[in-house]
Symmetry: C2
Amino acid sequence: MLVAGLSGANGLDVSLSNFLGIKLLHVESKLFPDGESYIRFINFEDVRGNDVVLIQSLYPNQDKRYLELLLAIDAVKDLGCRTVTVVIPYMAYSRQDRAFLLGEAVSIRTLLKVMSNLGVDNLITIDIHKEESLKYFKGGVAANLDPIPLFAEVMRNLTKDPIVVAPDQGAMNRALKLSRMIGYGDYVLFRKSRDRITGEIKHELGEVEVAGREVIIVDDIISTGTTIANIARYLHEKHPSKIYAVCSHGLFVNNAISKLISSGVSEIFALNTVPLPKNVNIIDSTPLIADALRRLTK
Amino acid sequence: MLVAGLSGANGLDVSLSNFLGIKLLHVESKLFPDGESYIRFINFEDVRGNDVVLIQSLYPNQDKRYLELLLAIDAVKDLGCRTVTVVIPYMAYSRQDRAFLLGEAVSIRTLLKVMSNLGVDNLITIDIHKEESLKYFKGGVAANLDPIPLFAEVMRNLTKDPIVVAPDQGAMNRALKLSRMIGYGDYVLFRKSRDRITGEIKHELGEVEVAGREVIIVDDIISTGTTIANIARYLHEKHPSKIYAVCSHGLFVNNAISKLISSGVSEIFALNTVPLPKNVNIIDSTPLIADALRRLTK
């Protein structure tokens, strides 16, 4: 098995190569003056007959990262690799998983279909927005890795009897699981409703005493941070001892970080699936991916 | 037949709809805050059972334009169109048409293969860097439209007994054809060679008298403009009456325009296959594409 990191590998190629003790396939990646991507496999003679793992996260510059990945897949197939496994720590376009309005493109379907069509054998991703989306990948294994055990390990050491908050219905299982794995504490769903007559937006947290306790808000993706900031602001008024925001993929678009902090979030945690700003605590996803790759080769 | 212009249509959707008298399929195209593309076909109910023509040029932001095109192809197929024809006035990545060094990705192969795989029926492009590349498209018709008749029409009215210069061997047929279609004048190949002993670069133009005559340098793509600027500078010293630079695809990266003008180029012409700066004369490619679409439906 050989591991190759493309321009969005975010260091995971090197850490996986070290962790698993497998050889790196070196990739030269550059841009032409007009903006076209160029890639070349330096030790290309190692590819023939081998199992190649391509690592590419799809943020920032989702489209550039994705196209570079397509170029690499096609190239290693052409160089005669035995299998191609694509590791996409952060899968962009996963939130457009259906036509919410008729006539909309279902972006994640297109991205996964195109990779299957090119002959990708296995796909590994972390905490994709909706696991059902993986049905669009028609290759061999399509694995969605669960980061909750990693979150639980960190938060167990850091907190005592915390309340885990799910920002919406979609994050409910995530919050429940995290709460259980921490071993104690409550989990609650944050509900937002609009009064049909007055139009007033009402927030509800259910029957839980927040004052003096630690709160963990957990979600898959933080983009502009608006959702988490609104919840933090609501919670902050109930005087918790600390508010943690924990997510898999911290895109932190625009001024997301300062928005979170000014809303009462004390600390932010995210996986290294995308490049992170300095004031975010990094949870390394290397062991998670390594474990999945080990299972693949069994 | 329905015509839909994506974000890189550069107005050709509207001009083709008017020219051919066919209905526009309206596309809403936007970006999410994190940079993901979104598209929706507004009059999606028109798609079912119909022949859809998608227009998307691949510059600037090649990768974003290309991904949006993939989303659109997959969406109209899913909406039940009868056929999809893709019109790509400027085909990005066409210069990486083989592995110049072992281990390199052959980018144009990947781009065309991915579109065939998604079920694109026909592909129309203008003056692709190497026509042989179209073999990678496995759909129905793959047409490479020749803009030389459009160039000849413009230059015939503008010049008298011009010398047409091919900047390199690859542009030779283009220059020969343009010269013949203008009806008179010479065509010559500009040769660049490096002295094996002194390392000195030598330019040669063959046996042609430049002084007092009009010169037309013709090429497929002008990117940074360095090649054309070098030739113009060489020619300028031989006192031509005027130097024209004519190209299909004017990318004009960085300060290409001022580089060309300061090297002695008097006027620049390009097709509207990509957005053009104000000081470039536009040659409309609408009739060329319209003619190809008419032939398709016959």
